[in-house]
């Protein structure tokens, strides 16, 4: 029993546990967990379509409703300058990326808390929970995409050939969405009431982003700082240009958005890894 008295009150400083973090290793570990992500996504989707009578319809309804609301209430009498594009089409092209972002953040932000019971039972890279939420939001976006095709047919237009340029924009959008989701999900574990603030913040974000209106409302001098602060602005503006107008994106604004998106992604990853060590303690 002499061991009992030999235990000091505090561990010696040199014993402090430091987790060695290697970016490569973290990514490799995530890659091996891809099947788990697939399973988590399947779990959500299967469960959702078993419950809901309308099934896929629920994923189309949110952007569609917003599009109709914008068309009939905001745009009444052609108040919004769309550069000659039919307004419903203009709004829907903006709503798709926004809905993806908003669904990722609100669902992914709660993903750790929702899986709290697993956090202190099962070992896996913790990022799988927010990532699978983002994948689900992505699937929803794909499901809502055919509506766009129908709208093109109704308005007797077609996507411009420059649509291929949407790919780099998509990459920026993904980086930004992932970064924000990482931050919101990890902080939510420690600040649980963020759950109540999030819908309000996202609502504000919808109007702070050129979804219902065009980028032209922002004064030219502020366009670059604005793109830096809100990378979704140049991305959505870019989509409209390449898909609807056949113009190249405003590259300088896209670059500013790319820069801040990458910064945010790096910040989000570091923050997530930092906070991760405590998830199981408080979950």
């Amino acid at each position: 029993m002499d061991h009992l008295t030999a235990v000091p009150a505090q561990p010696p400083v040199h014993l402090r546990y430091h987790r060695r973090l290697h970016l490569g290793e973290a990514i490799r570990e995530l890659w091996t967990a891809r099947e788990l992500i697939r399973t988590l996504v399947e779990r959500e989707l299967r469960a959702r379509y078993k419950q809901a009578v309308l099934g896929t319809a629920w994923t189309i309804i949110p952007p569609l409703t917003l599009m109709l609301v914008f068309t009939f209430f905001l745009h009444r009498g052609g108040r919004i300058d769309t550069g000659g594009i039919p307004y419903p089409l203009f709004a829907y092209v903006g709503l798709l990326p926004w809905t993806f972002f908003s669904a990722s953040v609100s669902r992914g932000g709660q993903s750790l808390l929702q899986n709290a019971a697993l956090l202190n039972k099962v070992y896996c890279p913790r990022e799988v929970y927010p990532i699978s939420s983002i994948v689900i939001a992505g699937v929803d976006t794909l499901v809502a995409l055919p509506i766009l095709a129908i709208m093109f047919a109704i308005f007797r237009t077609a996507p411009q050939p420059s649509t291929l340029l949407a790919l780099p924009l998509l990459a920026v959008q993904l980086a930004f969405t992932f970064g924000v989701t990482l931050i919101v999900s990890s902080v939510s574990v420690y600040l649980r009431d963020l759950r109540h603030a999030l819908p309000i913040l996202l609502q504000l974000g919808l109007f702070a982003t050129p979804v219902a209106y065009g980028s032209e409302v922002v004064p030219a001098a502020l366009r670059l700082p604005y793109a830096f602060i809100n990378p979704l602005a140049p991305v959505i503006d870019g989509y409209r240009r390449v898909v609807l107008l056949g113009q190249p994106p405003a590259w300088d604004a896209v670059l500013a958005g790319t820069l801040s998106s990458l910064l945010l992604l790096a910040l989000g990853s570091i923050l997530f890894k930092r906070l991760e060590t405590g998830f199981a303690d408080v979950a």
């Binding site: 000091p8 988590l40 779990r43 202190n120």
Partner: protein, 393 residues
């Protein structure tokens, strides 16, 4: 790098917040405010202090201790679910934790879909799950129910499902936390057998349990945690002996609480002094009562904290004042070792007159128990005399 299947945990420390761990903006602001004002944080509670454990491949270690002593926290750290505050930790090879994994089940999905879900969560690949699917269903005894949604399962079925998936892993290290208390007796036996099979294949085992007999039968080494500190470590029988002694000491502290009766005196022994296997054992007690009572008197014998090995009972009329109760057991069926005597007196309605509690311990001299073959079987708590005859035919 340690060889596959080994555990090297040295000087592990773990702490939790001592204040109520609510995580709302208000609470965090209060913490930050204290920090800024230099009041420091509101303190930490050490869950583990300087806990070390080394296990070689194929080794089996049992962790015992009272509730809240840090056993499960330590297991979570070995499972890499929690991070230690200080210490060095190396766990090499594939780790499987047999824990209550019912948490991962999704009620809207069928049992079959949940097998894939749980398997992926435990780190199995889809192919591996597909290959073992039938085996898992058979082990969980869910054959007709597997197409049904899990929300229609009983809690026992859910546990069996989760356990069956976990049991199908082929790990290098197996962590078991009290899950073998899952399900009915038949399923428990099946789970024990599965664990035994894994052990004989050379899996490293860390076993947390309150069932000291199964720890003793399964493990070669043990550690006893008390308030997050290793109170004893080493060969399993020595550790368990020390732990049992401490349990019995604390149990003594509870004596006399509740009930209207008091035990004035207890004596256990035989005419020759100490008790011995298959000899007479005499138990004499003196009970003090404030008034005359009709009651039922219970007397039991246990190995430490475990359930009694046997219980004796008789109706008892107590007079006001002291009553002596003597009991004679003609042939004591206990092997060599230390045992605990429990007493309890109840009225006809079953209310406590004297709560069921250990009153004393006694040692039994006799032949040593034959250890059962290594594996998860309970050590036999009784000693039976038998005559053997072996003839060639």
């Amino acid at each position: 790098m340690l060889p596959r299947g080994s555990i090297g945990a040295a000087h592990i420390w773990k702490r939790f917040r001592a204040d109520p761990t609510r995580n709302y903006l208000r609470d965090q602001l209060a913490r930050w405010r204290d920090l800024v004002r230099g009041n420091g944080h509101r303190g930490w509670r050490w869950a583990l202090r300087d806990v070390s454990l080394t296990v070689e491949p194929g080794g089996a270690v049992g962790i015992v201790g009272t509730n809240g002593s840090g056993k499960s926290t330590f297991l979570k750290i070995l499972n890499r679910v929690m991070y230690p505050y200080a210490g060095r930790l190396e766990v090499s090879g594939r780790v499987a934790a047999l824990i209550e994994i019912g948490a991962g089940l999704h009620p809207e999905l069928t049992g079959g879909e949940n097998i894939y879900l749980t398997g992926s969560l435990l780190g199995l690949r889809r192919q591996e799950i597909a290959a073992r699917f039938d085996e898992i269903v058979a082990f969980a005894e869910l054959d007709p129910a597997i197409e049904r949604q899990v929300k229609f399962y009983s809690s026992g079925m859910k546990m069996r499902l989760g356990f069956a998936v976990a049991a199908s892993l082929q790990p290098d290290i197996l962590l078991v936390d009290e899950v073998l208390a899952v399900g009915d007796a038949a399923f428990q036996q099946k789970s024990f057998n599965r664990m035994r099979a894994m052990l004989s294949e050379g899996v490293t085992l860390v076993f947390v349990s309150h069932d000291l007999a199964s720890v003793e039968a399964t493990c070669t080494h043990g550690i006893w945690l008390e308030n997050g500190v290793v109170a004893a470590g080493g060969a399993v029988d020595e550790v368990l002996a020390a732990y049992r002694r401490s349990i019995e000491e604390t149990a003594h502290a509870y004596v006399g609480t509740g009930g209207v009766l008091r035990v004035a005196r207890v004596a256990v022994g035989s005419d020759h002094g100490t008790a011995a296997s298959h000899e007479e054992l005499r138990v004499a007690t003196v009970i003090e009562s404030p008034h005359a009572l009709t009651s039922v008197f219970y007397l039991g014998v246990s190995e430490g904290p475990a359930t009694p090995i046997f219980v004796l009972q008789r109706d008892l009329h107590l007079t006001a004042g002291a009553t002596e109760v003597r009991c004679l057991i003609r042939r004591l069926p206990l092997p060599r070792g230390r045992f605990y005597l429990w007493l309890g007196i109840f009225d006809k309605a079953g209310h406590d007159l004297l709560p069921w509690h250990p009153v004393t311990h006694f040692d039994v001299a006799g032949p040593d128990l034959d250890r059962p073959p290594r594996g998860v079987v309970r050590l036999a708590p009784v000693h039976v005399e038998a005559a053997w005859e072996v003839d060639a035919e």
